[in-house]
Amino acid sequence: MLRNAWVGVLGMALAASVVACGGGSQEAAKPAESAAAAPAAGGGQKVDPATAGSVKGTVTVDGAVPKNDAIKMNADPVCVKANTSPQFQETYMVGADGKSLGNVFVYVKDGLGNYSYDPPTGEATIDQKDCRYHPHVFGMRVGQTLTIVNSDPTLHNIHAMPKGNAEFNNGQPIQGMKMTHTFSAKEVMVPFKCDVHGWMNAYVGVLDHPYFAISDKDGKFDISNLPPGTYTLEAWHEKLGTTTQSVTIGPKESKDVTFTFKAPAAATTN
């Protein structure tokens, strides 16, 4: 009977490792496929740089935003050592003027016709450093390679929680570890979290075109090489949601756009 039990336990472990390995290889196969397919997908004409214009602008917030939540890192000595000052979430990155809002993902949501774009150059990177994700908000293309790095001498698991792409959760226990991932479908936004350090979170916007930008600490963003046309632009913020506006660009025109979010009512502070 004892022997039977052990056989059962062994069998379960075997089955589990098969499941685990199967999941892994499947994950690796899917993105490669779409990466190959991505350049051909557009099929339309190329954007003519001679007539292309741009959208620049600022993201602001109207009213006072709540204070970012404090983070206690004391559960991991490595994180404590890396951060000597008090730590806060990066939810609201408000500029010195008290109005400009950083870490907002601005992108062309609608209105691009049937263009074909050059495949993305270079790779996107997300670094786990000092028990934070760097960057906190970023954008990348479908089929583009995302390099995930652990620069910390502690363990992180990077857990992506997409709705339209495949969920994944990978451990990087050793400093310097690298892995890559590609998303196969567009999605605004894919959240990342570390389940070891509950405060670690990041967001990536995955698009099938190159027209996106992240507002900087002064709320500024810049989307260039945009063909003439009328577009719906959307600005996304992790807490304040989304806001859209329509913009028309003539040949070689540069338009200035301002997105304004309303600060949440004081009562809904969390």
């Binding site: 009977m1 039990a5 336990v9 379960m12 589990a16 685990a20 070891v196």
Partner: protein, 328 residues
């Protein structure tokens, strides 16, 4: 000795349930992404220096679970070789099967990123396994085996107590569903619900949460009914009055902990102890229920009772190997 060991196993299972609820309360379920390995290491050689932050809860839960699994193997084997009651030998095997299935569910829920259905099943099977360990401890206890005093035979109490136990288990399943769908604060106030007696708006999460509060009311009433019946009709039966008193205390504690879980916005320890206390309410009710059914076990097959004539209330136990299976 076997009885002591089974009590020890039940005690370890309480610890295991606490460890498991700490995993969920800390949202640490995916902090070790792989299974049965831990970050690629064999579970038992994963260096303690790496048990940082939430990994401590998840990896600790896996280690305690493995220990309980190992103890269950010992107990099943022990029962198999030493227990004269055939059905109890197989019950030990069933407990082992339950703990193995429980480990598999735990692994699966990690590999599939904690789907609510698998995590809730993991919570539900945990309670079943705990009930099995408590039942084994009860079945192997001298008091159970010795029917020196005639067991209580009260059909109404059997019905009330059994209903109560089933209700408590259902309530725990609703609670587990609430935890694993993140509905624990779907109704943020207590005792009011959005400032009303009944919520003025609804969603799935609010409905689950509401059901758990109504469940608490029903369980409280059922427990009161059982305890009152015991005290009024069997006030001289300590094997019933003691757990009846205990369960009243536990339910009072449990309702308080549930309220505090909401009021502290899910304080990790209050929330986790609420889970453990729920398991204790369930098994206390189970003990009462099994004792009301004791009379239906007719006699304990294979165990001959020898009353010591010098001390009327004491018995000596002697396994009667000749009658094993003869009356099964």
């Amino acid at each position: 000795m076997l009885h002591r060991f089974s009590k020890f196993l039940a005690g370890c299972t309480v610890l295991l349930i606490l460890a498991g609820s700490l995993v969920t309360s800390n949202d640490a379920g995916l902090s070790v992404p792989d299974w049965p390995t831990s970050y690629g290491w064999n579970m038992f050689t994963f260096p303690p220096s790496m048990w940082v932050a939430n990994i401590l809860y998840e990896h600790g839960h896996r280690l305690i679970a493995s220990s309980v699994g190992f103890l269950t193997i010992i107990m099943a084997a022990w029962l198999w070789f030493a227990e004269p009651r055939r059905w109890l030998r197989w019950f030990g095997v069933a407990a082992l099967g339950a703990v193995i299935a429980q480990g598999a569910l735990g692994g699966l829920t990690v590999l599939f990123f904690l789907p609510a259905a698998i995590s809730t099943a993991h919570a539900g099977l945990a309670e079943i396994f705990f009930c099995m360990t408590v039942a084994i401890a009860l079945f192997t206890s001298p008091r159970w085996i010795a029917s020196g005093a005639e067991p209580v035979d009260d059909a109404l109490l059997r019905t009330v107590a059994t209903t109560t136990t089933v209700l408590i288990y259902a309530q725990i399943l609703v609670g587990a569903t609430m935890r694993h769908t993140g509905a624990g604060l779907a109704i943020p106030d207590f005792p009011w619900m959005f400032g009303h007696v009944i919520p003025d708006h609804w969603s799935n999460a609010i409905a689950i949460h509401f059901t758990h509060r109504i469940g608490a009311l029903l369980v409280t009433l059922a427990v009161l009914a059982t305890a009152t019946h015991v005290w009024f009709h069997h006030g001289d039966r300590r094997e019933l009055t003691r757990p009846a008193t205990l369960i009243l205390l536990l339910v009072a504690t449990q309702v308080t902990l549930g309220a505090l879980t909401v009021l502290t916005q899910r304080n990790v320890w209050i929330n986790s102890v609420h889970v453990v206390c729920g398991a204790l309410v369930l098994t206390t009710s189970l003990v009462i229920t099994l004792r009301t059914w004791r009379v239906r076990f007719s006699d304990v097959r294979g165990v001959r009772l020898q009353a010591d004539p010098r001390r009327g209330d004491e018995v000596r136990l002697k396994p009667d190997t000749t009658s094993i299976g003869a009356r099964a």
